[in-house]
């Protein structure tokens, strides 16, 4: 009788210790979530829209680049040339997603998950700038309205769908700035976005 009771007690203690460890681990989940929400997060880049800069080996490998996006005060302190991530209302990713789930394509107008995709592009114009647009845009020049930015991909018209397709975006949509490339390792390091300020045509 006694050994059985001792075994039950021991098992109970062990389970209790395991349960406590599990609980102690779980209490850290909100901390990690808060860090990812306010400070920074890893992001996997998919698609060729930033081609010469991100996903540069797109024709050799299916592996995606990994970057760090810095999320603290994301909609503020924006400069021309910065690479930002934002919730896209209409993007190539969205349409591709709808192709993958064809039942949602016909009811696409009612699909609530359209705005759930983040895009990564380079800021070309800040509010008040006059932009020389590319072909899908209806007018040859446009002034970026208050509280908006003009974003374009490095990939150009063929590889990128950007503000030339859907117009300037609100800075409130911006979720983070891409500050570092993590993977692949030979391009590891800080994103020198200020070097690109000279390449911007406007």
């Amino acid at each position: 009788m006694k050994p059985i009771w001792a075994r039950i007690k021991r098992d109970h203690q062990r389970a209790g210790r395991f349960g406590y460890r599990l609980f102690a681990f779980a209490t850290w989940i909100p901390v990690v979530s808060m860090f990812n929400h306010y400070v920074g997060e890893l992001a996997w880049i998919s698609g060729p829209s930033m081609y010469p800069f991100l996903n540069a080996e797109k024709d050799q490998t299916t592996r995606n680049d990994v970057v760090i996006k810095y999320k603290f005060n994301a909609p503020y302190g924006l400069r021309r040339g910065m690479i930002v991530t934002f919730w896209c209302a209409i993007d190539d990713l969205v349409s591709r997603w709808q192709v993958l789930r064809p039942h949602s394509a016909d009811s696409g107008s009612r699909n609530p998950y359209d705005p759930e995709v983040e895009a990564v592009k380079r800021i070309v114009g800040l509010e008040g700038d006059i932009i020389r647009t590319r072909s899908p845009y209806p007018s040859p020049t446009v002034r970026v309205p208050m509280g908006h930015v003009w974003v374009e991909g490095d990939g150009g018209k063929r590889l990128s769908r950007d503000s030339n397709d859907y117009g300037p975006i609100s800075t409130n949509l911006i979720t983070g700035k891409v500050t570092h490339i993590v993977w692949p390792l030979h391009r590891f390091g800080r994103v020198q976005w200020w070097d690109y300020a000279g390449n911007i045509r406007n």
């Binding site: 909100p30 901390v31 909609p75 919730w87 209302a89 209409i90 107008s109 609530p112 705005p115 208050m146």
Partner: protein
């Protein structure tokens, strides 16, 4: 006391964890906020009212026409407002206020919605800045809070969708 201060950073760590848990509830559960201004008059008063926001409707999830939403104002970085959803993607909406002489209708583009205040002449909304990207919706207003009396359950008033079935029309036939 010695057990509480056993680890030099224990109190700090516990505080951080509690804050983070609170942040999680406020970001993905329910949050409250103060709103002021005449744009949603008769539904919401000009001031002295708080809102309870259901954040599970963030980025326009399961939003219907007639819901009151909290949204980030697209032309003012960091500012938020409360308006009512008039049209969802694909709907045809009146571009301007009724009765101003222009009857232009537009179709709300994919991933956007059209929002207006209940107090049309005193509201800045989609009639000024155009269709609102769904991703700017922070949540749906489910209740308003006015502190009157001591019984907390009397403070809350449920906010209903403004779209009623025809059978519920207040006009008696």
């Amino acid at each position: 006391m010695s057990s509480l201060l056993g680890h030099p950073f224990r109190v700090l760590i516990y505080t951080t964890k509690a804050l983070a848990l609170g942040h999680l509830l406020v970001t993905y559960g329910y949050s409250t906020g103060y709103g002021w201004g005449p744009s949603m008059l008769p539904t919401f008063l000009t001031m002295n009212e708080w809102f309870v926001t259901d954040r599970s409707h963030r980025r326009g999830r399961r939003i219907c026409v007639g819901d009151c939403v909290v949204y980030g104002i697209p032309v003012a970085p960091g500012e938020e407002g409360v308006k009512r959803v008039l049209g969802l993607p694909g709907d045809y909406v009146l571009l301007n206020s009724p009765g101003v002489g222009s009857d232009t209708m537009i179709q709300v583009p994919k991933g956007h919605c059209y929002i207006v205040g209940d107090n049309l002449p005193w509201s800045r909304d989609s009639r000024d800045f155009g269709p609102l990207p769904m991703a700017l919706i922070k949540g749906k207003v489910v209740a308003k809070v006015v502190v009157n009396g001591w019984w907390p359950f009397n403070w809350f008033t449920r906010v209903e969708s403004g779209l009623h079935p025809v059978s519920d029309s207040p006009i008696k036939t």
